[in-house]
Symmetry: C2
Subunit: 333 residues, 2 copies
């Protein structure tokens, strides 16, 4: 049972508690950037004292936002802690006087060494071992953000979050069973296609983004894009025909109606057999606080969608991690 | 010659001059949202007094950012002024006590009526008439933002901007001539493809976004996505092969090196004949201030890329605006 913040998260919060940050920068690349999108949603909803930006790490350094300075906090994330752009961003932020917190699997990595405060998380993806998703990048990011906000505003969300995180892994296990048949039914339809779009809004947008670029494109060479559920109606929906393949994430957050509207359009003008809908409302999230559920649903979606990717990989005859041709194979880019 | 801000822009600035905004929200949908991306880049680089967020209008209303309130300013944009989501966002922001400025072609439209201060811009796209791009959505947005920052910080960027805007339309005309042959060479290669990606960073990312979703997807039914030049290396680049078609926008802003790196990768692992590069360094931007050029380059790119889209439309036998099947044809979504 998780009943208190992990020691490294608590240390980072304690060390920065005296500082009244005007601005929080969430900085990373790729999959690690995608969790920051949900983090920003959480901050936007809860923080009355600091604003929040998310940037790709290289964009952040080159853009050099004028507000970056001693009264800002920069939270960075890199799975291995070796992502060059993110390490560079950490050093750059420190040079500008900002406080820095780095999230990584590896507490002796370059990112961990570059930041003021390193915080560990876990991943089954790289290590191959089973983890409790409460301790994943998403889980630890929410802990940090809830702690930062509570410290400044006494909102009491950390307790709610920690309580709810205890029910996350069982919810994910149940979701695997909920979706197993659906994934088996959709895999033969999506497997041979060239293009799969992912569609979401609000707290789930990052999961759709990561699934499109880090799973479908990176590991299965699909043409793909994450489409925001309302932006969909301002251009992208014109590609919809009976053959178009979409994964639709219906979250439980305040933007749910946006994705429902897009789903309804897709059901009408696409083919239902090509529209794979994952609906937070069909998940068994027993035990979680109603207030926290919307933020944890994207973790459930993303974890279960890995299973779907493995189904596709089997049909396409392309192994997942080993299927890359450039990443971690080339060194000259 | 433009030597002063348009009267309606000046009125909006004067009316809000006394207010010390802590936060600026840039809110719109689709193509109008894409210009806000460049606007945020401009604000991030220049503003030391207020932070800035961009949101799709429906996301903005549902997300309901906690910082939205009386000490915030919301700038909205809708070409026709009839975009439901954007009008709703204007009303919502006013209800929350924020000051609102609405940009639109039509000063008697619902958006113009909903906001505190309506500001007109021009477009050749909808009206069919030739305009001076200085008075386009991008141009007027920059005027507003420069004015807001100058008023609070006396940075003197408005004068530089206005001077430079006088040289924009001639630069665009020259760019049409620069790119005419290149577009003719690439059109037969891109025309029959199913997928075209657009790639950019910094101030040019919005132009890539708009071209992907509002032109290639919306009007020519291509599968498409705007890919951020560094995010490219964290997943999307795995789709690159000799057949992959990319439009690469190399801007002149601080993030230029990100797009150069992606271009180099594409030249090496794709085919040069499928990588259409538009480079700000090859444009004749005579007369513009060096400081302002990076912000005006995306307007040049986007305007000239329309020409390329018409080339593609001709080859694909699909007219541009009339080629839509849903937008402005259906009313029930």
């Amino acid at each position: 049972m998780i009943s208190a913040l992990p020691a490294d998260v608590q240390r980072a919060l304690t060390a920065t508690a005296g500082r009244r940050f005007s601005h929080l920068f969430l900085v990373a690349c790729g999959g690690s950037l995608s969790i920051m999108m949900a983090g920003k949603y959480f901050v936007d909803r809860h923080s009355g004292t600091f604003a929040c930006d998310i940037y790709n790490a290289d964009e952040f350094v080159c853009r050099d936002p004028r507000l970056l300075g001693p009264d800002t906090l920069v939270v960075l994330c890199s799975q291995t802690g070796t992502t060059n752009e993110t390490v560079r961003a950490a050093n750059y932020a420190k040079d500008r006087g900002a406080a820095t917190i780095g999230m990584t699997l590896d507490l002796i990595s370059p990112l961990a060494k570059a930041v003021d405060h390193a915080v560990a998380y876990q991943a089954s993806y790289t290590t191959g071992k089973e983890i409790d998703s409460a301790c994943s990048n998403y889980g630890v990011l929410y802990m940090l953000l809830a702690g930062l906000i509570d410290e400044r505003e006494g909102a009491g969300i950390t307790a709610d979050l920690l309580m709810s995180l205890n029910y996350l892994q069982p919810s994910i296990e149940r979701a695997h069973r909920t979706y197993a048949d659906r994934f088996q039914a959709f895999a033969p339809r999506f497997g041979p296609c060239n293009t799969i779009y992912t569609l979401a809004s609000g707290a789930s947008y990052g999961a759709a983004y990561s699934y499109a670029i880090c799973v479908l494109m990176e590991m299965q060479w699909y043409d793909s894009q994450a489409i925001h559920a309302n932006e969909f109606f301002h251009g992208p929906f014109e590609v919809v025909d009976r053959d178009a393949c979409f994964v639709v994430l219906l979250g439980l957050d305040e933007t749910r109606s946006l994705s429902e509207r897009a789903r309804d359009f897709l059901f009408k003008y696409g083919s239902r057999e090509n529209i794979l809908v994952l609906d937070g409302a069909e998940l068994d999230l027993s035990g979680m606080s109603e207030h926290i559920k919307p933020y944890l649903v994207p973790l459930v979606f993303f974890d279960t969608l890995w299973r779907f990717a493995y189904e596709l990989a089997g049909l396409r005859g392309r192994p997942m991690l080993e299927g890359r041709r450039y990443m971690k194979k080339l060194t000259d880019y």
